[in-house]
């Protein structure tokens, strides 16, 4: 059976490429999702750590008033970060759904292309192919919108993490004024800082994902 020969209905049907593009996108989305899962798990850890830090600051009393305030802020940061990740997860799920449909339809498009090669002058087939082309273009547009929304959500999360970094560094400074508790407070604030750096690295990876045109 001759493939692609005599195809007349529409030239926007390089769906073999669309199919492999969609497959790559799906792979990239899966990687992004794995990174998001890592951040969510770390954000949950910050929440617990911040709670412990609040108790520690209370025990330290007046010497750790500033540290207590920052621990509260880190708890709020952890909550905001989880909400931010929930937005990302929702967008990821929507993207997976769209890309999966494109993958499925690309498979069918390939069969229709083979049919068109056998019946190059079939008007009904041309109508079906045009309709599928329009549907495909709409889906590609939806993917493009989701890609933009995802990128914006990742940027929002990155800004949030900048704030988290400032809080963690301030907590380190406050820990130094913790008198008898300075060592424990310093240890806790050091862990905060380490974790925020871990999240920052994850988000940097996301921002450079090839899904957004980057190289990662």
């Amino acid at each position: 059976m001759q493939m692609m020969a005599g195809l007349t209905a529409g030239d926007g049907r390089e769906r073999g490429h669309a199919s492999s593009g969609a497959a790559l996108d799906l792979l990239r989305i899966v990687r992004i999702n794995e990174e998001i899962k890592r951040v969510v798990s770390v954000a949950f850890k910050i929440n617990i750590m911040a709670l412990n830090a609040i108790f520690l600051a209370k025990r330290a009393g007046n010497a750790a008033l500033g540290f207590g305030v920052l621990s509260n802020e880190l708890r709020v940061f952890s909550k905001d970060l989880r909400e931010s990740m929930m937005t990302l997860t929702r967008l990821i799920h929507e993207s997976v759904a769209e890309v999966s449909v494109i993958l499925q339809e690309s498979r069918q498009d390939e069969l229709f292309r083979r049919t068109a090669a056998l019946r190059p002058d079939d008007r009904q087939l041309a109508v079906v192919l045009d309709r599928r082309d329009r549907r495909h273009a709409e889906r590609e547009e939806r993917i493009a919108v989701l890609r933009r929304e995802l990128r914006m959500a990742v940027d929002d999360a990155a800004r949030l993490v900048e704030l988290g970094g400032v809080l963690a560094k301030s907590a380190k400074i406050e820990a130094a004024y913790g008198a008898g508790f300075a060592t424990s407070l310093g240890q806790v604030s050091g862990e905060f800082d380490g974790i925020v750096e871990e999240i920052r690295a994850s988000l940097d990876k996301l921002r450079h994902s090839s899904f957004f045109g980057g190289s990662a």
């Binding site: 059976m1 498979r107 069918q108 069969l111 229709f112 083979r114 049919t115 090669a117 056998l118 019946r119 079939d122 009904q124 087939l125 079906v128 309709r131 599928r132």
Partner: protein, 246 residues
Amino acid sequence: MKTTQTIFEDGSHKWTAIVRDPARPDYLIDTNEYLIQHAGQGLLLDPGGSEIFPAVFSALSSEFDPSKLVGIFASHQDPDIISSLALWLEFNPGMKCYVSWLWGSFIPHFGGTAETFVALPDEGETIPLAGLPLQAVPAHYLHSSGNLHLYDRQAKILFSGDVGAALLPADKQNLFVEDFAAHIRHAEAFHRRWMGSNEAKRRWCERVSQMDIDMMCPQHGAIYRGADVQRFINWFDELNVGITRA
């Protein structure tokens, strides 16, 4: 591309066999599709797998306007029977798919919506095609647990799904069975392994023996006609099925 062959014609009432694709890759089982036309409408029987859709569509289109297909009859749920459903629906989204109730929620994985499917009861049902009554005949466990054949009383043709199927060698590709004894050797192992129940087989043989059948059209292999129909029923009745060598 597959070829079409008219096997019955009486005015606007016509049966077309869509068979034998020389370009079919060896790893795909060969299948027969059948188109029943009546008064300008068409019903496609076991339209085949999605991989062979281009070949079946092209052959059918040379014979019939695909937008005039009002329905698809699926003898059972296998992918070589009905995985092309979504592709056919592109030409007529209002098309109905007649299938055993047992597979009503499985086949939608191949395509279609709730409105697409007409669930046929175990005892079968009459399917009208532009006034032509076609009878869905129970053939459960032969081989699928929800399996139906289709009988056209006026044409005296029974579409028998996998019953009567034969895996023919490349040099024996005739549309009709010409030498029953030689042909049935290619059907025996298939029936022993794929047909799951001697009890179901006995009931089917009793049922179809009482029908007036000129042609029995399986989904694989060659068509039985004339005395070979009864020969097949007798042979099948004697065959011990539902067994493996292992």
